[in-house]
């Protein structure tokens, strides 16, 4: 915009010169007509009047036009400056005109509110009633308004919004309401809100789930101190159970902590590139001892070089959980397939087992925290009830999908799909 202004700058003098030439020509015509009129032809009188008007208009035009032109150019420079400032702000910023239509926004705003478009009303991008009424309040009263808006799905986000009325061209003498604009500043407070809630959730979950193993530990301690005081064989047996319970508690705490950590950053998408095939082979290597113990063979297919955008450690967690589950719960099938497919629209990894399968009523609920298909079986195999919840949250963060298919008696398959970015999508 600035460049365009510089190019056009020399234009006005030329134009003015050309205009004065025109005025000269017109004046000459006028003179001729005057002479003719004086000679005494009344028919020419209207023509005389018309010419007079034209000359006056021509004489007054150059100055007025020049002034308007200068104003526009200075306004455009100002707007270009404002645009530069807006794009330089680290938080999402949106500028609205006096009708609530969007006139400017920065890249951060577009990322947070993908429906934003120049000339469209803000309500198309932010439907939250709190924000809509804040904008109405600013337009009505001309004072600063603040609002907070939350989004629950697909990932929870919270923003503090501050709408400030401004006048960019205070010097202009136009009606004040015409130049009123609104600067909306969005501040992402998701992390802070999450942290608050996480503490509450953690205490609630931890106290509830730790109570059972703690009660059993307590019972065994009492038994060892009392009835089994002089029975080393029973003591050894009890101590083994106690160790297992203690291990379960520490695993539970680990899982709860990692779940909280992932939830905290769920709204931030990962940016690094990860080799999915190397992630999978690493996971399978670490799970080989378990698979030998369970007499289950892990078959792999399609391990070609495949990249996705993601967090390596988190993806390892995902596939560790899925393959470990398949080996543990599907061990009666004796075989687990891991398939990597680099498709046209998505990269997908399928983990399939040939075990007892999952009843349909459980399928939609597998990713709920502490939801277990068979509580006793899960506890015995060392499950915390958090594995798939963890998987779901990590995949949410990666904008990937988990599809579970299963039939009783026919095994289960867990498919993870990473959507490929559309190639011809407008930026």
């Amino acid at each position: 915009m600035v460049a365009a202004t510089q190019q056009e700058a020399p234009a006005p003098p030329t134009r003015r010169w050309r205009q004065s030439a025109a005025v000269g020509a017109l004046a000459t015509t006028l003179l001729i007509i005057c002479v003719l009129a004086l000679i005494g032809s009344p028919v020419l009188l209207p023509a005389l009047a018309g010419a007079l008007v034209t000359v006056i208009a021509a004489l007054s035009r150059p100055r007025a036009e020049h002034k308007v032109w200068a104003e526009i150019s200075s306004q455009e420079t100002v707007r270009a400056g404002i645009q530069a400032i807006v794009s330089g702000v680290a938080d999402p910023v949106v500028v609205l005109d006096s009708h609530g239509n969007v006139t400017m926004f920065n890249a951060q705003a577009k990322a947070a509110l993908p429906q934003l478009g120049i000339g469209r009303h803000l309500s198309f991008a932010v439907r939250s009633p709190e924000v809509v009424s804040a904008v109405e309040r600013v337009l009505r009263e001309g004072t600063v308004a603040e609002a907070e808006f939350h989004e629950k799905v697909p990932v929870e986000r919270s923003f503090e919004v501050r709408a400030t009325p401004v006048r960019f061209d205070a010097a202009s003498a136009g009606p004040p309401s015409a130049s009123l604009e609104i600067v909306m500043l969005f501040r992402d407070v998701t992390a802070a809100r999450r942290l608050e809630r996480m503490r509450v959730d953690f205490v609630a979950n931890a106290s509830h789930e730790l109570r059972t193993p703690l009660a059993s530990l307590y019972g065994f301690i009492e038994t060892i101190e009392g009835p089994a005081k002089n029975d080393p064989a029973a003591q050894a047996r009890f101590l083994a159970i106690m160790r297992e319970q203690a291990r379960r508690m520490s695993r539970l705490i680990d899982d709860l902590l990692s779940l909280s950590r992932i939830e905290l950053k769920e709204h931030v998408q990962p940016t690094e590139e990860v080799r999915l095939d190397s992630v999978l082979s690493e996971v399978i290597d670490t799970l080989t001892p378990l698979s030998l113990e369970c007499r289950t063979k892990i078959e792999i297919e399609g391990m070609n070089r495949t990249q996705v955008t993601g967090d390596r450690d988190e993806l390892i967690r995902v596939f560790e959980n899925l393959i470990e589950n398949a080996v543990k719960y599907g061990q009666s099938g004796g075989r687990v397939d891991v398939m990597l497919v680099d498709g046209e629209r998505a990269v997908s990894v399928t983990v399939r087992d040939y075990g007892p399968g999952i009843a349909p009523e459980h399928l939609p609920r597998l990713t709920e925290r502490f939801y277990r298909v068979d509580v006793a079986d899960s506890r015995q195999k060392g499950g915390t009830g958090l594995g798939l919840a963890l998987v779901k949250h990590i995949l949410n963060r990666h904008k990937a999908r988990l599809v579970v298919r299963s039939e009783l008696g026919a095994g289960a398959s867990f498919e993870v799909m990473f959507a490929k970015p559309a190639i011809n999508e407008p930026a």
């Binding site: 309500s123 198309f124 439907r127 809509v132 349909p360 399928l363 939609p364 609920r365 709920e368």
Partner: protein, 237 residues
């Protein structure tokens, strides 16, 4: 969309779409808060949502009137006519979603303090997240005039039905375990049904967005995964 010679016509259509988006925002917010009131067992929050319903109804009526006036004044054709008709239909569905949210809040007032185990409401919360996602996606599809997105919403309703069926069974089990749970679980069952109905309204909106953009209809029967109405009652053992 091409510009019209009468620019006020464009302004009318724009204001209509904007109103629908704002109405949708209100319905979304009411639903989110109704579920929060249920999970947190907060009567104060429930009362707030109940009070919001009047605003939703007023906004819906205002929009309907605006739509009728647009037809009367501008006699829209083709995509413009579809935009107006779709707006009328969509506002109806959104208004019904608001009503269902209000009904959930009334039930929250009835069961506050009686819900013993948090696991009882966990399933209902999970169901609500699926429905809220559907609602958000379909409203985004409306704003973007995106038929493909609307189609995806229309197809995903199956997941909601499956989860509802699972919840239905779970709540039934709790009722059989302990008759003292029956009162609360019956209310929760209705809450779940309300949420499932919201999902159906979201698919209606999806059909209308598809109609608005393409002029076509999503006619084929969807696969129904909600089998609770066919289910025989379990006998107490």
């Amino acid at each position: 969309m091409a510009e019209h010679i009468v620019r006020a016509f464009d302004a009318d259509l724009d204001a209509l779409s904007r109103g629908v988006a704002e109405l949708g925002g209100l319905a979304e917010s009411m639903t989110t808060r109704a579920i929060e009131a249920l999970v947190r067992q907060s009567p104060a929050m429930a009362n707030e949502v109940i009070a919001l319903d009047a605003k939703l109804d007023a906004l819906q009526q205002e929009l309907e009137e605006k739509a009728v006036l647009t037809i009367a004044r501008r006699q829209p054709m083709a995509v413009d006519l579809r935009a107006v008709i779709a707006a009328i239909r969509v506002t109806h569905d959104l208004e019904r979603i608001g009503d269902l949210a209000k009904n959930i809040c009334k039930r929250v007032l009835a069961i506050t303090g009686l819900v013993q185990a948090p696991k009882l409401v966990k399933g209902v919360e999970h169901l609500s997240q699926l429905v809220l996602t559907q609602l958000k996606d379909v409203l985004d599809a409306y704003v973007e005039r995106n038929a493909e997105k609307a189609l995806a919403v229309w197809e995903h309703d199956e997941n909601i039905d499956a989860l509802y069926t699972s919840l239905f069974r779970e709540l039934l089990t709790y009722m059989m375990e302990d008759p003292r749970n029956i009162g609360v679980c019956a209310h929760l069952l209705f809450c779940a049904k309300n949420i499932e109905r919201m999902g159906d309204h979201a698919t209606n909106v999806a059909e209308n967005v598809y109609y608005l953009v393409t002029g076509g209809k999503l006619l084929a029967e969807r696969v129904k995964a909600d089998t609770t109405s066919l289910e025989k009652p379990m006998s107490a053992q």
